[in-house]
Subunit: 319 residues, 2 copies
């Protein structure tokens, strides 16, 4: 066991890059945020980040106290350590970000996508502690996933395994941002839930507070709040969303037969209004050999710090 006391986690988002220095009790003891954009080059970005980080590193006793750094980022490839053609970042092509931070800081740096970081965070600090086989499903703007088999994250042959948000659940269904149709995330992401609200408003004649919102402003949390107030249409949308997630997970079980499916992200704040439907649809649809086995759980990672903690957890895996 290493005598190093800390890891650094970086949650690299489209707008902000949030750094946290994290101890073994999952406490973020130091934190700083740097805008992700406006540095021009990736080299300048890394330089400016390290300048912002250095005073924090000093406060915890210097770089020799730090085991490694983990980065959670969009379009991140664990194997290559590169960010590959991220449409929402200002760098083009493949950016070897892990190598660049490693050279600037002098500690090992690993990088993976946000959902994989969440899964590792869940295994290290959250609801998946002690589990060797589980699937983390992140519901946000999209649907992401991190799959753990035999205690290891599944990266696949190319570093991009675990895109369960892009399993097609409706042939010729809704248009997806990936260019195809009917992906799970078109129905069950935050955006997908808002689209379901529009569909429901078009199909049903029931009154609903959701009819009083501008279509373009409808969000998943409006549906959640309306459902909490007993709005029938909103309750139906939560039920449909949960049913689709439960049916999808029943198919995922046939792949890796996990101990648990763990749900993370904004839409899970609806709690049992969503989770009960996931559980029911899962039980109804899963193959008999898997029945009654996998738990359907809420993430135990705190939403605000989960991304930084998840990324930092990668650092503990580095030998």
């Amino acid at each position: 066991m290493s005598k190093k006391t800390y890891v650094i986690g970086l949650d690299l988002g489209g707008t902000n890059s949030v750094f946290g220095i994290v101890n073994k009790s999952a406490e973020i003891v130091q934190s700083v945020s740097v805008p992700t954009k406006g540095h021009g080059t990736a080299e300048a970005y890394v330089k400016n980040c390290v300048e912002a980080l250095n005073p924090l590193i000093k406060k915890v006793g210097g770089i020799e106290k730090i085991q490694a750094m983990g980065i959670g980022a969009p379009n991140a490839n664990y194997y290559s350590g590169c960010i590959e053609d991220a449409p929402n970042l200002e760098w083009r092509g493949n950016v070897p970000l892990a190598k660049m931070f490693q050279e600037a800081l002098g500690i090992p740096v690993v990088l993976t996508n946000d959902a994989n970081a969440a899964a590792i965070g869940e295994m290290t600090y959250g609801a998946a502690r002690g589990m060797k086989n589980f699937i983390e499903i992140t519901l946000g703007t999209g649907v992401g996933s991190g799959i753990v088999v035999n205690g290891q994250l599944v990266y696949g042959s190319d570093g991009f395994a675990g895109e369960l948000g892009h399993v097609i659940i409706e042939k010729n269904g809704r248009d997806c941002g990936c260019g195809r149709k009917g992906c799970l995330e078109c129905y069950c992401s935050g955006t997908g839930i808002a689209r379901s609200a529009l569909e429901k408003l078009s199909m049903s004649r029931k009154p609903s507070v959701l009819r009083e919102k501008l279509s373009s402003a409808l969000e998943a949390k409006d549906v959640h709040f309306a459902a909490q107030e007993g709005d029938e249409l909103a309750l139906e949308i939560m039920a449909d969303t949960g049913r689709r997630l439960g049916e999808a997970c029943a198919n995922f079980a046939a792949f890796s037969s996990p101990e648990a499916f763990i749900f993370f992200g904004g839409p899970t704040k609806a709690g049992e209004l969503l989770m009960s439907h996931i559980r029911n649809a899962y039980d109804e649809n899963v193959l008999f050999v898997y029945k009654g086995k996998a738990k359907i759980l809420l993430s135990e990672l705190d939403g605000a710090s989960a991304a930084v903690l998840g990324a930092s957890a990668l650092g503990w895996e580095v030998q």
Copy 2:
């Protein structure tokens, strides 16, 4: 590396139990077949099998030359070493077959299901040599699968992972033997292909040699032979089957992003009449990040000996 020269493979089928003593070049140097049924108890079955095996073991130089035995069997649980409630065998409940053979032979014995054994065989002796991430899909009476991630077979939390034949591909589709509807195997197993023939005969007005067969006698190989002769209806059935397999594999890629999908079993004898449609549908349907990556391959295991070789390959994994 062990100095042991051989492993024993047992292909435990509903009718026959075929034993092979296999060397490191994947040659079955000794072989014997014992009827699976008619022994009364599992204890008597093991005793009779070992009596049949002993002369063969003697011929290769005694049990000390043999590293381990691997068993491929229906309803087999790798973790427990048990066959659990196999409907087509005469033993009820959980039979600890691995332990029973281990005690009778004095060597380690491991057990897994047929499709997993085929995947391990493929990795040891076949088309997946050198691969760390691939999915073996077996087409027979049903559709089975063995999933390899990071060079390890995926057994999941309960030993029953990798039942991709029971992913639901058609909501409210054809009745499946598992009690649900629309599983992949209802369309793409040998039996599924025969069902597709009946559906096609009902839907189409085209002439076809398949119309001259008794419905109950229609088999996948009739479709394959008719397709080879240019029968239009049979060609359409092969195209539909391949399309469904390709679409399903496109979804499976989102799970483990394998290097290859390897197809094994009777219906694959149709070769390009089937495989070309799998490839086309896969390319058309897979998420852009995976495009052009995974190979769609035929098994390189010889059909007649594949099950014994696959089971034997498990033996090499035992330390």
